[in-house]
Structures are given as C-alpha cells and as structure tokens.
C-alpha cells in the first residue's frame, strides 16, 4: 500500500475520480439524473479526502479543481443535452476531465502534463458534442481538431525538450552542448503554447471561444471552471520552473486581454460576452503566472475569484437556452435572485470596485508592474478597464426587468445552492480578501 501513499496528490485524486467515472459508465443505462449528480458529488468528496487529510501547498490545486467540479455539478442540467439519457455519459466525462485536471494542475513532469491535458480536452470535446442541434456537433469537432493541434504542439515540444535535456522533468537543465539551451527554450515555449489552448490565451484561444458560442451550458461551465483552474495552475508551475518563459507569456497575456476587449465590444449576446470574457480572464491569469513564484498567491486568489464570479453568472443562466441577446434580456424570465446574481457576477468579472474581481485585478497589476514592466501593465490595465464596457452593457436591462413577473419565475433549489455557495465565496474574497490570500500564499 505504500506505493499508493507515495503517489502525488493529484494522481491519487485522479485515480478516485477515474474509478467513479468507470462506475458511472458501467451503470450508464440504468442511472437516472439525480443519482448521476449524487455520484459526481460523492466522487468529488472522496477525491478530496486525501488532500484534506494532508493539507499542504501541493494539495491546493487539487482542492481548487474539485471545488470547481462540485460547483459545476450543482449547475448541471440535463435539458440542454440532446438527450436526457446522455446525463450519465456527461457525468462520466466530467469526472474523467476532472481527473485529467487534477493531474495537469499538479504535474511535475512533461508526460503528466500531457496526459492531464489530453484527458481534459478530450472530455470537453465530447461534452460539447452532447448538446442539442448540429451547432453543438460543429463546435465539438472544431474544438477537437484545435485541441489536437495544441496537443501536437505540446508533444513536439516535449520531444525536443527530451532531446535537449535527456529528461522529462519540468526543471531539467539542458545537456552541455552549444545548441541545446536554445532548443530547450524553444521546446518549453511550444509546450506553453499548447497549454495556452486550455487557458484560452492568444493565439490558441479560438477553441474556447467556440465552446462558449455553441456548446451546452454544462460544457461551458466545465470548460470555464475546472479546465481553466487546472490550466492556470499548470501555467503558474511552468512559469515558476522555467523563468525564460515569463516575458513571452506576459506578452501573450496582454494580447489576450486587449483582444478580448475589442472582441467583446462587438458582442450583442451573453454567450459571446462570456466567450471573450474567458479569453480576457485567461490573459489575466497568464499575466499573474508570468510574474513568477512571487505571484503564486495572486494566481490562486485570482483563480478563486474567477471561479466564484463565473459560477455566479452561470448559475444565474442555468436552464436558459439560446444566445440570450442583450436586447431580449430584460424580458427573459429570470427571477430576482438570479438577476441579482448575474449582475454581481458580471460586475465581478468586469472588475468593478469593490467587487472581488477588482481586488484580484489590481493584485495582478501590482505584481505585473514589478516583473512584466510598465508597458505591459499599462496595456493590461487599459484592456481591463475598457473590458468593463461589454460586461456592463446588459446590466441596465437586467435591472429594469421589463414585463417580467418576478413572482412567477421560480429558481430551482440546486441553483439556489450554487448561487449561495459562489456568492459566499465571492463575498469572502471581497470583504476579507486577506483570508483566502494568506491561505493561498
């Protein structure tokens, strides 16, 4: 049994999640929606046990991934799937993807990183295809091809790195040969570009954009919480171990922020807005990661705030179909509680003070000024504040509630729980940010 205890935390949790995924798949035919949700929540709790029993800095990524998974599971609905019977497959895929996320977030070598990445992106690609209509399938196919390109880039980088250093360890030094140092640097950059796909950072951001436009809301939730958390933590680890990456990642991060601001301004519906929001926040996460080991607390805090804010928005939108155009949102039958959650989530994503999103953004910018330099920080600050424009576009209409009989619109219990949990997390990050920040540091 000792070998089991010697496994890294991420792998242990991944094994538990994988086991549950198998159970769900085996019983897929007979499992009903409620039992699927229960199994997924149970799997998350079981997977968290080893990390709760031995809490260290290493356990934090796993906990964050599992927290995101629980939040994600609470928001799941089967009515945006093509067939309600796909619910069991959906849960199994989430568990499988979460297992990959755990491995990715805690990876100490390139192979673990690749396995985590592949498991996660494959799960998301199939999840995307479970939605209604042809559009969902198109999105899934595009995501699959783009993730394959990212994985290929990563594999190529790993092969080059292995050739240059003779090792798969993240921090391996190049062999003594004049050309090997440059080769190792290029290899690491290729791997980072592959990883940027999951983080939705330019130039690998188009897959995530597609997911937000056409996949079912459950898949979007997974991609924007679990995948993002794992990719952010992996990028942080990568930048901490390979400082030569930091300037390039910082430039790509700022490009993503600026890109998302311009792209977001052209959006006329909530899904499009969320898509570009994912790119912008991916940029901020990458910028924090590019600040090196000193910014690890900031990455953790930003990740937590982002997941809480996105969960608030997605919880509010749970059960809504279509693109949700801004013009119609005032008349959309969403109750008062969900409208309030949506507004708070949007304000936090926009970084409007004193929301937790604001605190997280200034924490990143403060770090970036010292490490990434003034010009990139100015670019990120301008992109960040102008990005608020597209988040705030639907807010006046959301508050107006024209023609909606709020009393008649009910909010399901699980959505109330999801709103309460994510709202509490956001509130904690806002009122006493020193608590999560000191814990994450």
């Amino acid at each position: 049994m000792q070998w089991l205890l010697d496994l890294p935390h991420g792998v242990r949790s991944a094994a538990v999640l994988g086991l549950f995924a198998t159970v769900v798949l085996v019983g897929a035919v007979r499992l009903r929606t409620a039992s699927c949700s229960a199994i997924a929540l149970l799997a998350s709790l079981f997977a968290a046990i080893p990390t709760i029993l031995a809490p260290t800095a290493e356990t934090f990524p796993v906990l964050l991934v599992l927290t995101a998974l629980i939040g994600c599971e609470l928001l799941m609905r089967s009515d945006d799937l093509a067939d309600a019977q796909h619910r069991a497959e959906s849960v199994a895929l989430q568990l499988l993807g979460a297992a990959g996320a755990c491995v990715l977030a805690t990876a100490q070598d390139w192979l673990s990183l690749l396995i985590g990445f592949e498991s996660m992106s494959l799960a998301v690609a199939v999840l995307a295809g479970l939605g209604r209509g042809v559009r969902s399938l198109e999105v899934a196919f595009r995501f699959f091809v783009l993730s394959a390109v990212a994985a290929a880039t990563m594999v190529y980088g790993i092969a080059l790195f292995s050739y240059a250093t003779g090792s798969f360890a993240l921090d391996a030094a190049p062999l003594v040969h004049p050309g090997h140092a440059a080769l190792a640097r290029a290899a690491v950059l290729l791997i980072a570009l592959g990883l940027a796909f999951e983080l939705a950072v330019v130039p690998s951001h188009l897959g995530t954009l597609g997911i937000c436009y056409g996949a079912p809301l459950s898949c979007i939730t997974f991609a924007m919480t679990v995948s993002k958390v794992a990719a952010a933590l992996a990028m942080m680890r990568l930048c901490a171990q390979r400082p030569e990456l930091q300037p390039v990642v910082a430039v790509l991060a700022v490009l993503s922020i600026v890109w998302s601001t311009f792209g977001g301004l052209a959006q006329q519906h909530v899904r499009g807005m969320l898509a570009y929001s994912a790119v912008g926040h991916g940029g901020f996460l990458a910028l924090a990661a590019a600040c090196g080991p000193a910014a690890q607390g900031t990455v953790g805090y930003y990740t937590l705030v982002y997941v809480a804010s996105v969960a608030l928005v997605l919880a509010a939108l749970s059960g809504q179909r279509g693109e949700l155009s801004f013009a119609e949102i005032a008349r959309t039958p969403i109750g008062g509680m969900r409208r309030f959650a949506l507004v708070l989530g949007l304000l936090s994503l926009a970084g409007v003070p004193p929301s937790p999103g604001f605190l997280a953004k200034i924490a990143v910018l403060s770090q970036a000024w010292g490490t990434a330099g003034p010009w990139l920080t100015i670019g990120a600050a301008l992109g960040g504040v102008f990005g608020a424009l597209y988040y705030l576009k639907p807010v006046p209409d959301l508050l107006a509630m024209r023609g909606v009989d709020v009393e008649r619109v009910s909010t399901p219990t699980r959505v109330r729980i999801a709103i309460a949990l994510s709202g509490a997390a956001a509130l904690l990050c806002m009122v006493v940010p020193n608590l999560p920040a000191s814990w994450l540091s």
Binding site: E138, R142, L146, V149, A150, T153, A182, R185, A186, L189, L190, V202, P203, S204, L206, G210, V248, V251, F262, G263, L265, A266, Q267, A275, Y276, G297, A330, L347, P353, P354, F358, L359, K361, I362, A363, L365, S366, Q367, A368, W369, P374, T377, I378, A381, L382, G384, V385, A388, L389, L392, K393, V395, P396, L399, A400, P433, N434, A437, S438, S441
Partner: protein, 565 residues
C-alpha cells in the same frame, strides 16, 4: 459615536435594500434618511472637536503593496460630506415628485442610494485603493443612471460614453496604485512616500492623478461624455453631473495637492487644461439648442475654473468654488427639471420660450442661480469663489488669468442665453403646469446656498488650513466680498448676460451659435467599432481560418521569443 462617523458611506445602504426589496409606503421614502444621515455625519464632525478620524484595517489585501483599508474623516472630507448630503437630500425630495409617475422609480432611488454610498466612500477614502473603489463605484452608478430610460435611443450610447471616459481615469488610478511602493498609498502623505522608487518620481504619479481627475471632471479632451450624460433623468444631472461626481476630480486634486506641488510642470498643464476647457466649453454652451446640454457645457466651463485654480497653486479657491458651484448649479439643473417637467419633457430651447408668467417663482430662482453662476459681487456665492480664482490666476500666470476673465463674459453670455430663452418673454404657447411643494422647496434651499455660502469663506479657509496644507503655500487666501477685480468680473458677466438678452430678443428662443464639428470623437468611436468588428470577425466558424491563426500565431510567438533572447 465619533468613531462611527467615518463609516457614513453605509448610511444609504439600508435605504437601498429597503427600496430595492419594495419596502416603505412609496418608493423613495425609505431612501430619504440616507443622505440626511450623510449630511449629519459631516456636520457632527464640523461641530465637534474636529480631530481627524482614521479607520485602518492594516492587512486587508496582503497581495497588494498597499494592503490597508483606510478611511479618513478630516475637515476636507467633512465639508465634502456636507455638500454631498445636502445636495442629495434636495435631489431626493425633488425626485419624489419628479419621478412619481415613472414605472422604474424604485430602481431609480436604489441607484441613487448606491451612488451616494460610493460617493461618500470616495470622499472618505484614506488611501488610493479605497479611493479607487469609490471612484469606479460612482462611475458605475453614473452609467446606470444615464442609461436609466432605456426606451430613449440615446441613453445607452451616452452611458457607454461616460463609462469609456471614466475607464481612462480608472486605468490611471490603477496604474498609480500599481507603481506605488508598499504601504505608500495614504492620500495625505503621497508627497512624503518613497517616490524615489516610482519611475519618473512625483511627476509620473501626479500626472496619473491628473488624468484620473480630468476623466472624472470631463476636462480637456475627455469632456465629451458630460454633455451626452444629459440623456439621464434631470435630478441625476443635478446631483451627479453638476454638483458631486464631476467635482470628484477637483476633490482629488485638492486632496493630493502636496504631491502635485512637487511637480510644477504637471500643475502648469492642469492650469492650461482648465483655462482652455473653461473657454471652449463656454463657447460650446452657446452652440447648444438643448436646455440641459447648454447647462452641461456650463458645468464643464466652471470645472475648468476649478482646475485652473489648482494649477495656480490655489487649491482652496478650487475647493471653495466646488462648494458654491454645487449649490447654484444643482439649483439651475433642478430648475431645468421643473421646466422640462412642466413642458411635458420638452428640452429644446426653441420650444420652451416665454415661461416667465407661468412659472414665476421658478423664473426668479433660476435668475438667482444664473447670477451666482456669473458671480454677481456681494449678493451671490459664486462671486466670492470666482474672485479668488481670478486673483490666483493674475498672481501666478497673468495671461491665463486674463483668459479666465474673458471667460466670465462667456459665462454671462451663455447664462443669459439660457435664462432669456426659457423665461425671457411672456408669450409662451406651452401649457406648463406649476411644480408642487416637493419640487419647489429644494430649489429654495439651494437658492439660499447660492446666495449665502460665500460668506462662509473665511471660516472655511481656517477650517481647511491643515487639510489643504495652506500653510505650506504661504499666506492663506483672504476671502472678500468686494474687490476691484471682482467688480470688473461681475460687470463683465452682467454685460454678457444683458447682451444675451438682446440676442434672444432678436433671434428668438432658439438663438444659438452655429455648431462646430469635433471630428475626433466620432472618428475614435468608429475606429473602435471597426476594430471590434474585425477582431470578432476572426471567429467566423471556419476551421481553416482557425488553424491558420494558430499556426501563424505560434510561428510569430517563436520568432518573438527568438528575437527577445
């Protein structure tokens, strides 16, 4: 009890919750105690022993260099709280009647509560992080209130314009926070912070603060959002876009004046920005066919005077003018609300002429406000503060002082044009209905302020001596009711007022100068929209294009990395 005063910004939150949840006999009543409490908090501090009260939570956000949450209630903040509390109380009472038949009045009062809370947070901020929280909060409230009437097609673009302009200021403040060394964000000691660690030293920090202030106060090239903001309800224009939020930029410059004084180049730029805005906005007001937009340009012009005063090393004059301006400009906007309300929403000057006989008391109050805006010596508060600015101008930069004196003629012209266009004749075809007590009473209170606040100048000077570091500037300025320069300015203003009367008599109520096109605003908007469309157009669903982007992007990144190495 005193320890609670710096928390005055929470005073409107119970009203906000009650109003938003639908409690209270009618919308707005539950919100009413909030601004009264804010005013009371400021007044209590002023009547007490006047010891600065500071609340500090040292380790609020450990990820930041400046991790503390600091609130500070001193003389400057207390006076500003009184201004915010008094004007917002008037506006709340006024809005009870003005918004009575509006379906969204509950939302309106909740948003007003939110605005007052964030404005008070801005005023009470002790360090840059808390200031930014209030700063962006008022920007958000402003956006939501400008776009309050969504059925008006111009409301949302106007709100977004305001948001965009404010975003520039927010970014400047964000950068100021980012570049300050750890623990150096205290607003009262920015000048003693370890500025050596800041690239560019005091000048960089001062320039960032000036950009933030210019964005909030719509100065220089960032003026464009304020006239558009008149798409919001008129009480909002009175409270936010005339008396309080737009004055926040001036408040920030006064609060951080010791730092600004370390950067003489920046101060000179502030003076120039102020003078140019004062003059151009004065001309801009003469070009407006719309009543509220005419007033908005007049606000821009007066804010220019305040900026110029800061640039002339006279922060007290700037703050004093902020105080007096709050009373008479809120009065003029609320008068505009009465007129528009009486005329069933009509805002075009050409359609509003000749309401003097139908709205007698309103015409008189508007006249008082107009005289205060011109600065009629002895009788109005505006004269006291404007004289100080002109004196400082002639002392520090006579050429700029001369230009500001010329600006007084413009003030007379645009004030006169608006007054005569609306009230000048008595042959109106409109059937205006007289306002009720809820709308008239606040006007009377503000008119009292517009006449009497000037006499508080000496006491205010003594009170703010410490907060504004007036000692460091040499002899504090003496406030006087009569001076030769003041008399000259008053005469020029009155002359302009009368000339405007003749102009309106000849050309009719719609008299205005031909408008000049300012191409860069539309060009910037079109360019941004084009860039947004192009960026979004990349995501067109074609896989080949996506793959091309990925491959080219990867190649370029490798090249960039190689060049960087």
């Amino acid at each position: 009890m005193n320890t609670l005063l710096p928390w005055a910004f929470v005073a409107t939150l119970p009203g906000l919750v009650a109003t938003a949840c639908g409690r209270g006999p009618r919308p707005g009543i539950a919100s009413l105690p909030g601004p009264v409490l804010v005013f009371a908090a400021g007044l209590l501090w002023l009547l007490g022993d006047q010891t600065p009260l500071v609340v500090t939570h040292a380790n609020w956000l450990p990820l930041l260099g400046d991790a503390a949450f600091v609130l500070r209630l001193d003389a400057l903040a207390a006076v500003m709280l009184c201004v915010v509390g008094a004007v917002s109380t008037c506006v709340y009472v006024y809005s009870l009647e003005y918004m009575r038949h509006d379906a969204g009045q509950r939302r309106f009062f909740a948003l007003l509560d939110f605005f007052v809370a964030t404005m008070c947070l801005l005023v009470l901020a002790g360090n840059l992080v808390v200031l930014l929280a209030g700063w962006a909060g008022v920007g958000l409230a402003s956006f939501l209130l400008i776009s309050f009437w969504r059925e008006k097609p111009e409301a949302m673009p106007a709100g977004l314009q305001a948001l965009a302009a404010n975003a520039i200021g927010d970014a400047a403040l964000l950068l100021a926070i980012a570049l300050l060394p750890a623990g150096a964000g205290d607003l009262t000691s920015l000048h003693t912070a370890s500025l050596a660690a800041v690239p560019g030293g005091a000048s960089t920090l001062a320039a960032l603060l000036v950009i933030a202030a210019a964005a909030k106060s719509a100065q220089g090239p960032l003026y464009f959002w304020l006239p558009s903001a008149m798409a919001g309800p008129t009480p909002v224009s009175a409270l936010i876009h005339a008396a309080t939020m737009v004055a926040a930029g001036v408040y920030l410059l006064c609060r951080t004046f010791p730092l600004l004084s370390l950067a003489p180049g920046v101060l000179l730029a502030v003076a120039w920005i102020g003078v140019i805005t004062a003059l151009l906005a004065g001309i801009g007001s003469l070009q407006q066919p719309n009543y509220k937009r005419g007033l908005a340009y007049s606000t821009l012009s007066q804010l220019g005077y305040m900026f110029a005063a800061v640039g002339f090393h006279a922060p007290f004059a700037a703050f004093f003018h902020l105080l007096t301006h709050a009373s008479f400009k809120a009065l003029l906007f609320l008068v505009a609300g009465v007129v528009i309300h009486a005329a069933d929403g009509e805002e075009r000057l050409a359609r509003l002429g000749g309401l003097r006989t139908q709205l007698k008391s309103t015409a008189l109050l508007a006249f008082i406000g107009s005289m205060a805006l011109i600065g009629l010596p002895v009788l109005t508060a505006g004269a006291f503060s404007k004289d100080l600015i002109l004196e400082a101008g002639f002392e520090h930069a006579p050429a700029l002082g001369g230009l500001l004196l010329l600006g007084v003629v413009l003030t007379g012209l645009y004030t006169g044009r608006l007054w005569f266009a609306v009230f000048g004749r008595s042959d109106s075809t409109l059937h205006a209905h007289a306002p009720g007590a809820c709308m008239t009473l606040p006007l009377a209170v503000l008119a009292l302020g517009a006449c009497g606040l000037g006499w508080l100048g000496p006491q205010l000077g003594a009170l703010l001596q410490g907060s504004l570091f007036l000692d460091a500037l040499g002899t504090p300025p003496a406030v006087h009711a009569w001076s030769s320069l003041g008399a000259l300015a008053g005469a020029l203003g009155a002359g302009g007022f009368l000339i405007a009367g003749l102009w309106v008599r000849k050309a009719g109520s719609g008299a205005c100068m031909p408008a000049l096109v300012v191409p860069w605003i539309d060009a910037t908007r079109d360019l941004s929209a084009l860039a947004a469309r192009r960026v979004a157009g990349v995501h067109d669903g074609r896989l080949v294009g996506y793959l091309f982007c990925c491959v080219v992007g990867t190649g370029l990144t490798m090249l960039l990395s190689r060049l960087g190495a």
